[in-house]
Amino acid sequence: MTPPTSTPAPTNGLAFLLKNRLYNTLSEIGEAFRLFAETIFQIFRPPWQFDLLMKQLLFIGFNSLTVVLVSGFFTGMVLGVQGYVQLKPYAVEGSVAQFVSVSVVKELGPMITAFVLSGRIGASITAELSTMKVTEQIDALEVMGTNPVKYLVVPRFLACSIMLPTLTIFSTFAGIFGGYIAVVTLFGFNGSFYILQVQQHLYIGSVFISLIKATSFGMAIAAVGCYKGFSISSAGGAEGVGTATTGSAVISLITILVLDFILNHILFNLLGFS
């Protein structure tokens, strides 16, 4: 038996660990942005394969519509109950419809939709791409002269960016409807007054904000999902696929929250929307 020729470098100092961790995180973020940049570049380069995009759009739509509607509906119900109960002591429970619709449109509609899709679509993108990576299918694409970013990432990225705002519209309506059902059935609120209030407080600017947010969340979900799928080591195996998939869902949730904060700051604080 030959003794080991060199002792491994010390890897236990706290400073060393932190430095290493920071370095890894930063270089991962850098890599993710590189993938993002290449995706944007490839979106504008012909040939465009609309059939691939269509397939992704349908996949996302079919997979998420029901969950998005149900989540939106219950979020609206919760807001209705909370709003009514909280506003009542000040005798302004009449504004509950305004409260529900404004929160749903500007904040919770895009947010709930993004949460649902990051768990369903983001994770499934990562699972699919990382499986393709470990089974050499990405290599096979490369060897056949097809750019994996153009073939795999671009359609998923576009589909998420399109479907998130689309589904957000559905979840927003479901939310407003959920609020209606809650306050009308539980508190005997006047239904036509609810609808009138919603109409009065649904500005085109709010809808615009909602869609801007949703589109950004969609891009983030696809970018994180694809990056986590591609960045798995080809020697990762099934275990690697599992780790990448759960990692993807967690990271996209955090990304969505951070992005939401940044967008709120920019839109409401810097640009002065209300």
Partner: protein
Amino acid sequence: MISIKNVRKSFGEKNVLNGIDLEVPLGETLVILGRSGCGKSVLLKIIAGLLSIDGGEVWVDGTEITKLKRKKMNQIRQKIGMLFQSAALFDSMSVAENIAFMLDQHTDLTQQEMRKVVDEKLKLVDLDGVQELRPAQLSGGMRKRVGLARALAFNPEIILYDEPTTGLDPVTCNEINELIRDLNKKLQVTSVVVTHDMHSAFSVGTLMVMLHEGKKLAYGTPDSMINEDNPILQQFILFGAPDQILNIDDPTLRKYTGRKTE
């Protein structure tokens, strides 16, 4: 056609290739031998431009490919067909779509014309009636042959085979060997074949190389390999080859069989 100069590759601490030089002239078939894990698949992927290297040069069809832009590389790749060790079929597509993939991506052929190519290539690998199946519905050997059909679909000038006969029955094995030889003779295809199957190695190879511990242990024609006086190589050939295909009276071989002559 393919020329490899002093190629080095390591994964982290692990040195896999340690300065390899190889030449595969136009129309030759190079067989790569070596123990499991010695870097044969890695070498094929390097030739296909799928793995970056840590040092050296790789020339394919007169171009140094290691620092090539993707666009240029893709032009070269249209001349390369590759059969992966795992077959690497796209499992979201049918067999026919797998085989027609390059035609679909790089040509304007109609569905009908592509179907003709698919049928023709499947016939070459002795499969039929599997066009509409998914890769998951195939047996291991069938998957391998579909992978081969896919590698042939674009009529490549260079074909890289990673264990083309592993997992096949002896009859199919023989057909695949003949197919490789035919492509080579009739179409002047340049091939690199990784195999553990000595029968296949000696029946398709016009050149052979044995890799060992990241180095080239022996290189030459099949005849010269048999006569090479190297214990590692000879064990490799002898343990894998049925007596019938070797000339057991060969003095070099006899030395390693441990058999006295009759």
